[in-house]
Amino acid sequence: MKNNRILPLTLVVAAVLAGCSSLPANNSLLDEARNDYSIAQANPQVTSLAAGELKQASNSLDKANSAWSKDESKAKVDHLAYVAKQEVAIARETADQKAAELAVTNATAERDAVRLEARTREAEYAQRNAQISQRQSEASQRSAQISQRQSEASQRSAQISQRQSEASQRSAEASQRQAESQTQAANIAQLNAQDARQQAEAAQDRSLQLEAQLKAMEAKKTERGMVVTLGDVLFDTDEAQLKSGGVHNVQKLADFFRQYPQRNVMIEGFTDSTGSNSHNQNLSDRRADSVRTALLGMGMGSERITWRGYGESYPVASNDTAAGRQQNRRVEMIVSDDNGKIAPR
């Protein structure tokens, strides 16, 4: 009788267990989740940058493991294993994202350092140009001194011949007059030679100056005249404000126009093709106007300046590469001929 009572009870319990759970077999999804987790845990980037996400994945994996060891239904174990597996992937992606963001932060610092280096180099470049001009002027000074010494020598020899002619004066009056007239002719010739030499030196100085100035501004000869280009690095990003390097270049140009009052300037602004047309038109207008304002501030007459923005028109390089876009973001200043004329675009 006792056995009879226990047997059906045991059968009921067995049936209940069979109804709610499956046999303790391997679960492939759970194996995948465990494997993914151990790979992520061995990755120092994930453990350091996504510790919270990895902990959450670990908790979910614990739940899946515990359901599996309690022989709960395959559907439940599969579900918990799937969630754990996706959470491991979330931890991995989070670590990737943070690593890339760190790289951007570091790169921003590096870019600032590179910009600083660019400005330093520009200053050194200007200093070198100044030294070259100084050396050139020292050289022409030296050659002037040499010419002067030569003329002193010829003067002395003229004096010697004068003395000789004075000695012969006593012997013949006629030859004395002749000697005097020769001395006068020599003096006149000497004066003429001095004049010519001074003029030549002045002309040489002027052409050296013009050449050195245009070189310093990196002017290029085009069909429309000499063109000085202000690159993108001389402006703040997406702003019309000139940086100190840009102001420096414009100052050189203003000095140039002070010396050549018959020459005028045309200022043209350009951008790359990134952004809307109206934004680009506006930025190129403002950059051109900013250069004009700088020239006016340096004392150049407004009647000598024309300016306009061309937006993304007239690119000088391809807009498909970062290097090309940087070349297209620019302000060009065209120097007129001696009559103040500039050919239209």
Binding site: H79, I90, D96, K98, A100, V114, R121, G231, A322, A323
Partner: protein, 124 residues
């Protein structure tokens, strides 16, 4: 009915109640459905469809099946599907964000290279 038989009947009813509680009675997962829906919205706002199309599609499919299970009052199934959809959507969002961050890092590297080229060209 003897007291013997009465105990046996009470025991059987007790076991049946425990079994019903363990296997069947599941609350309606309304809250989980709302959480999963908002995870999908966030993921698609972050660009999940572009950067993680597989995860995005899986999340949306599972959400549709979760709604069907709700209609059939199969709440256990509905909750599991909604939880998996949430995990898929969060993964899609993260994938989109990390892809965008990597892209930004590449662009920044390009910019620096251009700047350096420009300096080297000028100092020649």
């Amino acid at each position: 009915m003897s007291s013997h038989q009465w105990y046996r009947a009470a025991g059987a009813i007790g076991i049946a109640a425990v079994v019903m509680a363990g296997c069947a009675s599941v609350p309606k997962p309304t809250e989980q459905i709302a959480v999963s829906n908002s995870a999908i919205t966030n993921a698609s706002r972050a660009g999940g469809a572009e950067f993680a199309p597989v995860e995005m599609k899986s999340a949306q499919d599972k959400m549709a099946r979760a709604h069907q299970a709700m209609a059939k009052e199969d709440y256990e199934d509905a909750r599991r599907l909604a939880e998996e959809a949430q995990a898929d959507a969060r993964l899609a969002e993260k994938k989109a964000e990390s892809a965008k961050a990597r892209k930004a890092a590449v662009v920044m590297g390009d910019d620096i290279r251009v700047l350096r080229d420009e300096i080297n060209r000028k100092s020649k």
